[in-house]
């Protein structure tokens, strides 16, 4: 078990380094540099050169990468070229709306997805199963930014039930969470249904039925517990979708989160902010999938002792 955990944790290190290299490399390719943005349009060549030196931009690229990594490790991410405030401050003030949004969307996706998926599997070929198939097909096909705008039109503009923009109150979280969580709920429902159908065909389920186990006990204790691994895998992967989806959702609902921050920073070429935010979201995704991996071993002894 310890070896399994150790191996998984160690494996995350090269992946993290690789991600940092890609994030650094991609954003190094941006035409124009941070010094120019910081200096402003009326700066002289000498000013820009001075800022370049200050930021270490006159060093060779691999030195810059090493320095960036070093600063990343100590969470010293420099300053935003636009607001001049520390990047850590910019990010810290934006984490909460995004974390709340992703968590609410995930909660919704798991709750709705599991309930719908289990019901569809236990009532295969029923009209409920058919309605579910249609709903999940729509759910994975709807563009989230459009769904957001439609919900906003209905619940904010026409019915005036919910606020359309901002963050902070629970009411402001409802529409964005619905928007972001819909596609994940559909994906979780599909995966749950197919995993449950696979398990329900197994011999040990027939044995359980023959013993007289039925209803809720059969479905939850015998079937669901064995279907949980593929379901958890999908949930872990959905987090990546949700984190990236905050970029669109926060734009639609003018929510001051990390997703919105990335888009604004790209527009203003605020490279330090883009790098740090993409890095943070990727690290979160890697960490969650690491936890999911470890959870497998906890839930399924066959993996633990392999």
């Amino acid at each position: 078990m310890l070896r399994h955990i150790g191996g998984r944790v160690l494996w995350a290190i090269p992946v993290l380094l690789g991600v940092s290299l890609i994030v650094f490399g991609i954003l190094k390719a941006i035409p124009g540099d941070a010094a120019q943005v910081m200096a402003g349009s009326d700066a002289t060549a000498a000013d820009i050169q001075a800022i370049r030196q200050l930021l270490g931009l006159d060093q060779p690229v691999y030195v810059q990468y090493a320095q960036w990594l070093e600063r990343l490790a100590t969470l010293d991410l420099g300053r935003s070229a636009v607001t001049r405030r520390p990047v850590t401050y910019e990010i810290a003030t934006r984490v909460r709306p995004t974390a709340e949004l992703a968590a609410a969307a995930m909660g919704l996706a798991v709750a709705v997805g599991l309930a719908a998926g289990v019901t569809a599997a236990t009532h295969q070929h029923s009209s409920w199963d058919g309605a579910m198939a249609l709903a999940t097909a729509l759910g994975v096909s709807v563009p989230i930014f459009w769904l957001g705008l439609m919900l906003m039109m209905l619940f904010s503009v026409s019915l005036r039930w919910l606020p359309s923009t901002g963050a902070g109150t629970p009411a402001q979280l409802i529409l964005p969470a619905l928007t972001l969580g819909a596609a994940s709920a559909a994906t979780v429902a599909r995966q749950t249904r197919s995993a449950m159908l696979d398990i329900l065909k197994q011999d040990y389920l027939r044995t359980a039925r023959a013993k007289g186990v039925a209803g809720w006990t059969l479905v939850m204790r015998h079937a669901f517990r064995n279907a949980v691994i593929p379901i958890i895998t999908v949930v872990g992967l959905q987090l990546g979708y949700l984190l990236a989806g905050t970029v669109l959702t926060e734009t639609v609902f003018a929510r001051p989160g990390l997703g919105r921050l990335v888009v604004d920073a790209i527009r203003t070429r605020d490279i330090a902010v883009v790098q740090a935010t993409v890095m943070l979201l990727s690290v979160t995704f890697i960490a969650v999938n690491l936890v999911v991996d470890l959870l497998y071993a906890y839930l399924d002894p066959r993996i633990r002792f392999d």
Binding site: I22, L27, V140, S141, F145, L149, G240, G245, I266, V274
Partner: protein
């Protein structure tokens, strides 16, 4: 012994060619056939946009903004008096071009990387697959956004960004299938006959591992169109005044209370085409999955 009792499924009815079998399975699914029809309609009409569109998609008519549907403008006009039908056709052309182009890039490069990794094994395999792991560790849409940040906005760059973003699943599938195919007799036979490595990979392995790659392509088209329109919606994709469904939606958003059709129409177009990609993709997967037949 020449006559046998007829069975419920005559032998001749099951073609040996798996592609023909898959096509027959597909043809029996009415929803999938409808999905395919929708896709063909979308591809043909947007492909023929230069001939079909009733007006110039960028022709501004300030005297006639937000016009309701009429004989001249079947779906009305947008905030600048441009004909919505024409913009929808031209927009579909750009949206579909990005989608198909991106998946084509991913299909070609992902398959090539995966087959090479699987066939050669060793260090090149390790390097290729670890790079894919790293790409998969960055949440998909965010990777596309980061690539756009580096390359700049515009249609070609969107195709590249989504293409890069879609390479890892193709590479993984191709590698896995190649590892199995490498041990097959036909590969050993080709090797024994002195065929070169490239010939073996391109002419012998690739055709035999095609079906999971085709499945991945059709399903990937749905993701690609959502990513493409999402990037344009954020202003990171196709730039105004060029018509593109996501970009149309992005502009229409500012008039959402006064002219909701500017948002509803392009959004419906994206939804319908994505749904068709998904339905066709799911059915192709079932049709090519030997366990299902």
């Amino acid at each position: 012994m020449t006559e046998r009792a007829p069975t419920s499924v005559p032998r001749a009815a099951i073609p040996a060619n798996p592609w023909v079998r898959a096509a027959r399975h597909f043809a029996r699914q009415r929803v999938a056939v409808a999905g395919l029809a929708v896709l063909l309609l979308a591809i043909v009409t947007s492909g023929a946009a230069p001939w079909l569109s009733p007006h110039d998609p960028n022709l501004i008519d300030v005297a006639n903004p937000d016009a309701p549907p009429s004989f001249v403008h079947a779906l009305g006009t947008d905030e600048l008096g441009r004909d919505i039908v024409s913009r929808l056709l031209w927009g579909g052309r750009n949206t579909l071009l990005i989608t198909l182009g991106a998946v084509a890039i991913a299909f070609v490069s992902g398959s090539a990387l995966g087959i090479a990794g699987g066939y050669y094994g060793g260090l090149s395999d390790t390097v290729i697959m670890r790079v894919m792991d790293v790409l998969l560790a960055i949440p998909g849409f965010l990777l596309a956004v980061a690539v756009i940040a580096a390359l700049g906005v515009g249609m070609t760059n969107v195709i590249i960004a989504i293409g890069v973003n879609s390479i890892p699943p193709f590479a993984r599938i191709a590698r896995g299938a190649t590892l199995l195919a490498r041990e097959e007799v036909y590969v050993q036979a080709a090797q024994a006959l002195g065929a070169g490595e490239r010939t073996i990979m391109a002419r012998h392995i690739f055709p035999n591992i095609l079906s999971p790659l085709v499945v991945q392509s059709t399903l990937r088209l749905a993701t690609a169109i959502l990513t493409a329109s999402g990037l344009s919606f954020l202003g990171l994709g196709v730039q105004p005044p060029t018509a593109e469904w996501g970009a149309m939606l992005s502009v229409g958003r500012e008039y959402i209370t006064s002219s909701p059709h500017l948002v509803i129409i392009p959004g419906m177009a994206i939804l319908v085409v994505t749904l068709a990609f998904n339905v066709v993709g799911d059915t192709v997967r079932d049709a090519l999955d030997p366990r299902e037949l």
